[in-house]
Amino acid sequence: MLREAFPCLHQQVNGKDLVYFDNAATAMRPQVVIDAVNDYYCHNNANIHRGVHCLSGRATDLYEQARGSLARLINAPSPDNLIFVRGCTEGVNLVAQTFVRERLQPGDEILISHLEHHSNIVPWQILCQQTGARLKVIPMNERGELVLDQLDELMTERTKFMSVIHVSNALGTINPVKELVAKAHAKDIPVMVDGAQATPHLKVDVQDIGCDFYTVSGHKMYGPTGSGVLYGKATHLESMPPYHGGGEMISKVTFEETVYNKVPAKFEAGTPNIAGGIGLGAAAEFILDVGIEAIAEREDVLKLYTEQALKTVKGLRILGEAAHKSPVFSFLIDGIHPHDIGTIIDHHGVAIRTGHHCTMPIFQFFDVPGSCRASLAFYNTEQEVDILVESLNQAKAMFS
């Protein structure tokens, strides 16, 4: 069974079998990813793109193969469309500062949605402060779906960029990103999609979506922390100035001038997270091997089971019931604060996240300070869902 491939799942916490339902915060890593990282350090440790020696050649090949694996995973036209970054957060900041910034005049607008993670809000607020541009927000409804009726009014001639989340980390909502991109492109608005919660659960095809940029977070898709890629259309990447200056991103430096390296090296200053990139490549291969369709199918079954099971808990309210969603459940229980629930069920071995999940505006919408969030992955089981429900009932008994 695939579950066996994830060593960290198999342990006890607080004397109970671990039930890991915090996958939206960070997923577990399969042994192949751990081995890839380990192998690099044990057998191929060297800097990349620099040495004539054997190990440097091997490390460079592994790193570039990883880029190729990620390109296949998201169907990018070429590995050169991908820039290695620390994660989605860095991807957004890179695009904000190198692509969007020079397009903005005071009074221009950037469009995001109410479902965004703070990492797709704050970089734009910083940019707005730097340029005098304004942030506009696509609203959401009670089910946690985006309301697209007013899209025409929200996309004005002043809208210079749109950045939207593909799958909500807080509510699980899967947004119609292809449709959003088409609407924006009809008005010549370039679009970035935050794919942090998408690549672990759904088939992502950046060419089909048609977006200009797409961010991938390694640690959400069974890869190492501090790894990720930013996809960009080739014409954009060619025209953008570099993000960070330093080694690796140059082809010639004199004290008078610097000639930048070609894409994607132009954006990869300094020694990168080599082990992380190689591990992320292994994670992409893992997903390709298992098949994202098989993952999605299994998660759909788990999602329905979990929804039914949670609904048996009296006084439990699920926040976010979008028609299309991933196996993420934000919920509240009458009379018990989420942190108390989190502490109590941790005692039963169940790991969930409590709080605002880096999406404070979503909880301002629902007028609550936060929620409990159980986020599942394909390696979770129905039995684990039963344990969650049982532990929630125990929490209720304690507070009754």
Partner: protein, 148 residues
Amino acid sequence: MTDLNKLYKQQVLAHNKTPHNYGEPDHWTHHAEGLNAICGDQVHVYLNIEDDVIKAAHFAGDSCAISMASASMMTELIAEKTTFEALHLFAAFKQMMSAEGLDQAETVLGDVACLVSVKKFPSRIKSALLCWYALNAAIHGQATTTTE
């Protein structure tokens, strides 16, 4: 008793269910808001200080049972104490919750000492401390504070 039952002991659950001195009073002289950014706990502390004596203490906010119970018990403990005494109690509570610990905590802190069981749950210590930080801030005329 399991650690969990020690954490959510009857006293704590009772204060959570019917907190004492809850809600913003009509009259207060000092106020501060305590925020725990990571878990989102929020506690407002309102003091009515006359001649350096805390005549009344109230609290409000939306937070977990540990934070609610701690604030409820704190407002009872500090009533009719001088601000100096209240700050002394803050220091004593902090020490009780630290690795060092506080001898004879019950003599110094009364009922509040029962919160020592929170120490078994390091991720929750800040919940218990939040109202005390807000108290300290209110006495010193600061509007907001955090346990970070």
